[in-house]
Symmetry: C2
Subunit: 243 residues, 2 copies
DNA sequence: CAGTGAATTTAGATTCACCTAAAAATAAAA
DNA sequence: TTTTATTTTTAGGTGAATCTAAATTCACTG
């Protein structure tokens, strides 16, 4: 209100600067899930995200997605052009990063403090990520010692949305005699993580590629204790090693 | 199942035994809030809870409450007779105790681990109490060392719904020269708790009644360091001392 | 015990997130 | 470039939780 005054008193001009709105709008549980889904789908591949893809990950129908995209568009969370797909706006991306921050901090809490296994945390964190208090989020972050990566090796966004990005490459992209340390997984489904547990592969495991079978692209690898393992192509596409 | 076989096998009768359902039905966020509200309202005063009271604590309208009571009645969570009020069924009480268990464990976590003040935890815990995982709840309980009381002195129900009940009486019911230790508060509103903070009254504080002013029932008390305080009747009705 | 006032319930709408089925737009193939 | 297939959107409707306004029941008081 009073900010406009200055506009007309030319020597006492007060400049109203356009800034990101302080009114951090809150979003419904459902909206947050859509925002997260769109973020994740646009993370790999920078193009627009299409309706069916969102419907699939959220286990809903395309028509429902269209409804929500209209709504999120009106709230300036997504850039939405009919039939052309969506992308997050800057504001939308900020919101997404906060949700992911909470998700990954809670996952870290569950594993580090409550002794959950890394395959047990995803579902629970999917609920916890919607707890709204930012004081809580920041205190949790502090309590955990400001971790930079979650139990699956995924980076945890800071309060301002920044993430440590580490150089990593897929095990499937490596050559014979290459070696590295497991720093992340590309799939957090319980069945995959349980398989890794059984094989003795965890974050921090040292791996060396012994042989590559051209027929099916499976790999023969060595773990630190010289344990030899055969890894299918499918599996090797979901393990990140330090570059 | 198989244990029952022998009982009826000789006549070939298969007897369906009514037992508490193993299918622990899940309840919506909203339903849980109603269940908690009814529990709290029936805790003080064992009579039936009336519609308007529920509407008031949930900040909703009586008509909405009626709708929900019908629904909860159909689910056998409440005993509801039109125009006569409600009470929780046994099953409803079990559900209520699990919600309260989660609420109080989270409050304890926030204060003990995340350095929240006791006046900051209620609202956050109101969100966290709806996280469904019982594994989480039990691991949290363990992590906190199986606490029996929350930061306001309220008892935390065990996994089976049992609570330690300690003998306590209201400060307002005590006489001159009586003394005791603060073991709980009857009101967890931030403003009240902040007032206690300012006065230096916390759980564990030793209090002795020095004088009682008949005119307004206010009290003159001594804290452990011989600090004298004047406490209004209103305030003294919300502080529990060990009996 | 009838009559009034308060509490409660019903009736009818609204909003959110979802659905199915049909129409429209886009993309791929002939 | 038509035709066909796929994707996406519209249209219309459902259930959950809410609301307002009107009707009903209860409880008290004269």
């Amino acid at each position: 209100m009073s900010a406009f005054l200055g506009l007309y008193i030319h020597s006492f001009r007060i400049h109203t600067i356009a800034h990101s709105p302080i009114t951090t709008m809150s979003h419904s549980y459902t909206e947050e899930n859509y925002i997260k889904a769109i973020y994740k789908l646009s993370a790999n591949g920078t193009q627009e995200v299409n309706t069916n893809a969102i419907a699939e990950v959220l286990e809903t129908k395309a028509a429902s997605v269209t409804d929500m995209l209209r709504k999120l568009s009106a709230k300036d969370i997504v850039n939405y052009v009919k039939y052309k797909g969506v992308s997050l706006t800057e504001q939308g991306e900020r919101v997404a990063l906060q949700i992911i921050r909470k998700h990954r901090l809670w996952e870290t809490f569950l594993v580090e403090k409550l002794k959950f296994n890394w395959d047990e945390v995803h579902e629970v964190a999917d609920e916890m990520e919607h707890i709204s208090s930012t004081l809580l989020t920041n205190r949790l972050d502090e309590f955990l010692g400001f971790p930079k990566f979650d139990p699956h090796g995924d980076p945890i966004p800071s309060e301002t949305g920044e993430m440590k990005q580490i150089k990593q490459r897929l095990l499937s992209d490596m050559e014979v005699n290459d070696a590295g340390v497991v720093v992340g997984v590309n799939d957090s489904q319980p069945l995959f993580l349980q398989y890794l547990d059984k094989m003795g592969i965890a974050l921090g495991s040292k791996i060396k590629i012994i042989d590559k079978i051209p027929y099916d692209n499976s790999l023969e690898i060595n773990l630190e204790d010289n344990k030899k393992l055969l890894i299918s192509s499918e599996v090797s596409k979901n393990i990140f090693l330090s570059a």
